[in-house]
């Protein structure tokens, strides 16, 4: 596959690494925002190849992981209803709610379908006019255009049996929240490349300026990540804090204008709770007044649920980069991908699952060299 293998070339990786070693003179802490980047970093052992003085802090960029417990509980409640076909991306099924997960609801008779695209859920609604089809619309700005299109199509088709359980989250407000935290150690961001493929880069210069933090738009292949790190370190060493694009083959400054237009028609900004982090102002989307009739939370009365978070799970600290997964006592013991206590152990983009999957049971640097 073109532009995939090339960006995994070990010889070029070697060159980039040399260059990073050459420009680094001091310790720096960089946060990669996106869970896809965390996955790639751990999988390829990139953090262990970097100079000792560069630390990669794993950010909150896994939508599965940050979907709040209350929404999971609402999903479980809706999915249990006999009239409902509940559609979701596969990795939401194992996310623990207060009392169960979607898998358990499925095994006790809930009609839960894993779909590849939200449009598959629209098709299900067309084919099952006597059932209520609900799609679990989670994700960052990358996923939102697909979910927006599903709602748009449902309206075009005049569907009265389709709705969206929305828990969309936005990346730039989360980056701001991380910088505002008194415990914040982040000195530069590797911004989430595919979020920028949709949204473009114009939300980032104000953040870079306000927090005096370099922001480098970064891709997902090993060379992309190394180049993101290199550009961030070059800025840090020079005392600069601007927005750079290290992923120009997939990110234009204006993003994808057609997708942005649809997003602004279908959604509006709202406060959102992030699992393990808390409520971040104006950090998510809900359906706009024009499309509110497709909101599953309004269609099904699911208020008044009380959510109980596991007390052993430290995913909140993991998500904010305050601890590494293996520093949690439950890691690999009570908590594994098969029996996750927290959402960061569920999806392979969650830091806990990435560490578990690639056998990072020891502190990151031990045994690597």
């Amino acid at each position: 596959m073109r532009y995939l293998e090339e960006f995994r070339d070990p010889e070029l990786a070697e060159r980039l690494l040399k260059e990073i070693h050459a420009v680094t003179t001091r310790p720096w802490a960089l946060m990669e925002v996106c869970g896809g980047q965390t996955h790639s970093i751990i999988r390829h052992g990139i953090d262990q190849l970097l100079p000792e003085s560069i630390e990669l802090i794993h950010g909150p960029g896994c939508p599965v992981c940050v979907t709040p417990l209350e929404i999971i509980d609402k999903a479980l409640e809706i999915a249990s209803r006999p009239e409902v076909i509940f559609c979701s991306f596969g990795d939401m099924l194992r996310v623990p709610g207060s009392r169960a997960d979607l898998f358990q609801v499925k095994s006790t008779g809930g009609d839960i379908r894993v779909v590849y695209s939200p449009l598959d859920a629209v098709t299900l609604a067309v084919d099952n006019p006597d059932r209520q089809v609900v799609f679990f619309g989670i994700g960052f700005e990358t996923t939102a255009p697909a979910n927006a299109m599903a709602v748009y199509q449902a309206r075009q088709l005049g569907l009265r049996n389709f709705s969206l359980l929305v828990s969309h989250v936005l990346v730039p407000p989360a980056m701001a929240a991380i910088m505002e935290s008194p415990a914040c150690r982040v000195q530069a961001f590797l911004a989430a490349g595919h979020v920028c493929s949709v949204m473009g880069t114009d939300e980032y210069p104000p953040l870079a300026e306000r927090y005096r933090v370099p922001i480098v738009v970064t891709g997902f292949e090993p060379l992309d990540i190394l180049e993101g790190v290199r550009q961030a370190v070059v800025q840090l060493e020079a005392g600069r804090h601007t927005v750079d694009n290290a992923y120009p083959r997939a990110v234009l400054a204006e993003g994808n204008p057609a997708a942005r237009a649809m997003l602004h028609a279908v959604f509006e900004v709202t406060d959102r709770a992030w699992r393990g982090i808390g409520t971040i102002p104006r950090s998510g989307w809900r359906l706009s007044p024009d499309y509110r009739e497709f909101d599953a939370e309004l269609r099904f009365d699911v208020g008044g649920l009380r959510a109980d978070e596991s007390t052993a799970c430290r995913s909140g600290e993991v998500l904010q980069g305050l601890i590494k997964p293996h520093e949690c006592a439950a890691f690999g013991a009570e908590c594994t991908p098969r029996h996750p206590l927290g959402a960061t152990m569920v999806s392979s983009e969650g830091a806990c699952a990435a560490y578990y999957l690639y056998r990072r049971l020891e502190p990151a640097r031990a045994g690597a060299r």
């Binding site: 695209s117 449009l119 949709v198 083959r249 983009e349």
Partner: protein
């Protein structure tokens, strides 16, 4: 679920008035919605996420980035390469 992957457009078509494409991901092909990138044509590379093409992969920019990576370390190699060093000034300029 969050991963988006590049693939090559095999052909484009329309379904219920929506522009679509058959996209090849290294041997596996899937139908992908082109509503957000309607101008894409066969043989273009696109980034696909949950059944939607969200952006084109720009070949020229990809090649430029790779060329830039290839230049890293070149200067060091020339400086330490004994043959280049002995051959004098003419050999240093690439």
């Amino acid at each position: 679920m969050c991963l988006a992957v590049p693939g090559r457009v095999v052909r484009t078509f329309e379904r219920h008035g929506t522009p679509m494409a058959e996209v090849d991901f290294g041997g596996v092909s899937k139908d992908v919605c082109l509503a957000y990138l309607p101008e894409v044509a066969a043989d273009d590379y696109v980034i696909v996420h949950v059944g939607f093409a969200i952006q084109r992969l720009d070949e020229r920019r990809a090649l430029e980035t790779l060329a830039e990576f290839r230049r890293f370390g070149l200067l060091d190699e020339e400086l330490i390469d004994p043959f280049t060093a002995e051959a004098g000034e003419e050999a240093v300029t690439p």
